[in-house]
Symmetry: C2
Subunit: 470 residues, 2 copies
């Protein structure tokens, strides 16, 4: 009995895929004609519609319109696959228990990606799109993280966190970038990559990833101080990472030789604009959440709308203006918590908290699934480059954590122990955000494919590292 | 203090709009060039990108990228507007208390629509799209309705409900269609409308609307029997309505003169295929929900996924195959309830129920908002046609309820009283589903604009009727 349902569930999607593939083949002719010109294409489509209408003279009992429902169907498929996989991992705990969930999800994604690839599926239809990732998948995770962040520990250690962030990312970016470029000049890479391109790459690979850190700390259990430090650092990292990435991207058309001192000064200043702007947006929207939830006493059903949609507006507002969306969302989550607790009754709040958790965990699972899926693509292998990237990431991360920790310990009431420092250095996991950034690189960069391959390799290495830590 | 936040909240969207309008103006040139041809357009865009990059030589502090975030921003805006409106109505209870919420939401929609119209906004950017309505907005409402349907009362009265549905809709469709067509032949309408087009229109205007019925019974409180009868009838109506609508639509290219008896027989048979097929899909997916929730004990966060996403899959599967999606979703909701109650702990279940309610009520509010908004459009006024449509709808609904009730009462244990019959006749509200269908009509129908205007008029009349019933 149960196996029948399983069969049904798993036979469903391939059915869609086959129909989709057939439709694609049959519409190829249309598309070619459509490429000739806009107006002509419209006329052609109308013609083919009429043609179709004339052909189907008798009443049809069942129609089969996959394109009508394709978007929500595909979304439902990934969400269900992630959920079913999560249950499967729990059921096979004796086999899967050794590996973290995120590693297993990547493997499931790899398998599905391989099957789709063998079925000659178009890569674009099932890969992770940069915009989709940042707008929809990332925000529930970050919001959940901000909302459940222990406020007190965060503010007590803000100083250390900011030092780790600033020193860590800046140091890593320039150390990795310049090291790779210098070694590249010896000619051991397959192609010479300009300094600016290498710096662009190192800016996105240097930041530790909040998503990876969350999934790591779900597996290993550390003290609150360590968790808050690493996690808050990975969140603030984003501001630096985004600025550096945008800075180098805006220098691309200028060229490093035409850079003026003004540009560098502006770049440096923009760190503060991006970070503090994100904080400001977060605080403003948190105040709006407080105000709206206070006035929602009579209408019980609108409360979750304010708790979910208003922080998301903070995220969108920051994303739109180029400020740090992650900082805005985290700050909004932290700042709104006391108001929300006062304004919303406990029973409703429990439901809301539960759904914050559900959305965050499902988004995380889907992201790791896509991370496996998207790896099945045209790669540009350059083992020297990839290996050196991984080595530099680990080495410079360790240096960038231990030296600040040494100086910070002179001022701290509770110093970071040797074990803490080890965890700090090893928890520099790279994750989905780096992948989201690297696939959003302009196509004009010749080494884009190599950068994508190296990023995927680095992320997979992080996941393997997680297993060994565990 | 409070007024500042209100200002902020309300100034935000117009800001986006202005930016959007400016971008539209500036991109007009691009679009015109783009229409010339596909490949050329791509090249042109790349050229203009390069041009832009060369122009912005220095580092920009803030960017303003509205198009990047426009889709989620617009969605967030409508959800927030609906929520804030709902709170506003509660706050001004002394003024707004007389009117039902849905009427007030339509008025808010009308005002916003008028403002957007005056700002020369493109109609398509803020009107309700047929596909969007059926795929995303309608399903949470129908699912909530099915899930909270009192099972016992529903099955006890299934016979009466089916009789009311079959007789009611078939009678209304043909009575309204043929009456309008016959009167049309006298020449009092602005244009003569072919019989098939009138029947197409009458098939979509004849069914009572579950969304309208829910919002009506939120205002007036009737006994369980009456609620279940009217509500279940409005749900089953959909199957008939969809079949008639598709039937007449498929006859359009054939023409009424070329119809064969076979087509009519197939049409009649397809009622049962569409309805029973919907039931089957609902039952299958409910069994999957039961199976999956039973095996989700270890992973708490995936439960809501199964409760929400699997019934939605039933809806999509029915929608894809042309079966009755509404019946599939309602049946799935009814059939899964006992399993879900057993498999999911009460605390989690309370959270899920709360979110079912939240999603349903917010979708409903957004739909009525859009119903107001979409009314601001190019109308084709034909007062005779519109007035007669409304009169026929009311008169034939009354006849189509009172005569079956008379015969049913001879067999029923609990007969329908005179008051019950009055409520049955008067609760034949038309609502958003009719609007969703009418805007999905093919553009080849010359009277499409007239049909849209008449549908909007009929829906508004239903809302006014609600006020008078109240």
């Amino acid at each position: 009995m149960t196996s029948i349902w399983f069969l049904l569930l798993h036979l469903y999607y391939p059915l869609f895929i086959v129909v989709d593939a057939l439709e694609k083949v049959s519409s190829n002719g249309d598309e070619e004609a459509g490429a000739a010109g806009g107006v002509a294409a419209v006329e052609h489509n109308e013609m083919s519609n009429l043609h179709f209408d004339n052909r189907s003279h008798s009443f049809q009992f069942l129609e089969f319109d996959w394109h009508h429902v394709s978007t929500p169907c595909i979304a439902a498929f990934w969400i269900l696959l992630a959920s079913v996989s999560k249950i499967g991992f729990q059921k096979c705990k004796n086999i899967c228990g050794v590996f973290p969930d995120c590693a297993l999800l990547i493997v499931v994604g790899l398998i599905v990606g391989f099957v789709l690839y063998k079925m000659n599926f178009e890569y674009a239809s099932h890969s992770l799109d940069s915009q989709f990732f940042f707008l929809y998948l990332l925000s529930p995770i970050i919001f959940g993280a901000g909302y459940f962040m222990p406020n007190r520990t965060f503010f007590d250690n803000l100083g250390s966190i900011v030092v780790f962030t600033m020193v860590g990312v800046l140091w890593s970016t320039f150390a990795i970038g310049i090291s790779l470029w210098l070694i590249g000049r010896t000619g051991i890479f397959t192609a010479e990559i300009p300094l600016l391109h290498v710096l662009l790459f190192s800016s996105l690979i240097s930041a530790t990833d909040p998503v990876a850190v969350i999934s790591l700390f779900d597996e290993i259990h550390v003290n609150k101080l360590l968790f808050t430090t690493v996690f808050a650092e990975s969140l603030l990292n984003d501001a630096i990472s985004v600025v550096l990435f945008r800075l180098f991207k805006s220098f691309l058309p200028i060229g490093i030789e035409n850079m003026r001192p003004m540009d560098c000064a502006a770049g440096f200043l923009s760190f503060f604009v991006v970070a503090l702007g994100g904080v400001l947006i977060g605080v403003i929207w948190a105040a709006i959440v407080g105000f709206m939830t206070r006035h929602s006493k009579e209408v019980d059903v609108v409360r979750p709308v304010f708790v979910f949609v208003l922080p998301y507006c903070a995220y969108l507002a920051a994303e739109m203006t180029g400020l740090s969306a992650i900082i805005a969302l985290v700050v909004c989550g932290i700042a709104m918590k006391p108001y929300v607790k006062l304004n919303i009754p406990a029973s409703t709040m429990n439901s809301i908290k539960y759904f914050v958790k559900v959305l965050a965990e499902i988004s995380e699972a889907v992201i790791f699934l896509f991370l496996g899926l998207s790896a099945i693509r045209r790669h540009q292998w350059d083992f020297a480059f990839i290996l050196l990237t991984i080595i530099f990431c680990v080495v410079y991360r360790t240096i960038g954590m231990i030296i600040p920790a040494y100086f910070l310990n002179k001022f701290r009431l509770v110093p970071y122990s040797k074990v803490d420092q080890f965890v700090l250095a090893y928890s520099g996991n790279r994750g989905p955000i780096a992948f989201g950034l690297v696939i959003g690189l302009p196509d004009s960069i010749p080494a884009k494919d190599l950068f994508i391959t190296a990023t995927i390799a680095m992320i997979y290495f992080s996941v393997i590292l997680q297993v060994s830590i565990k």
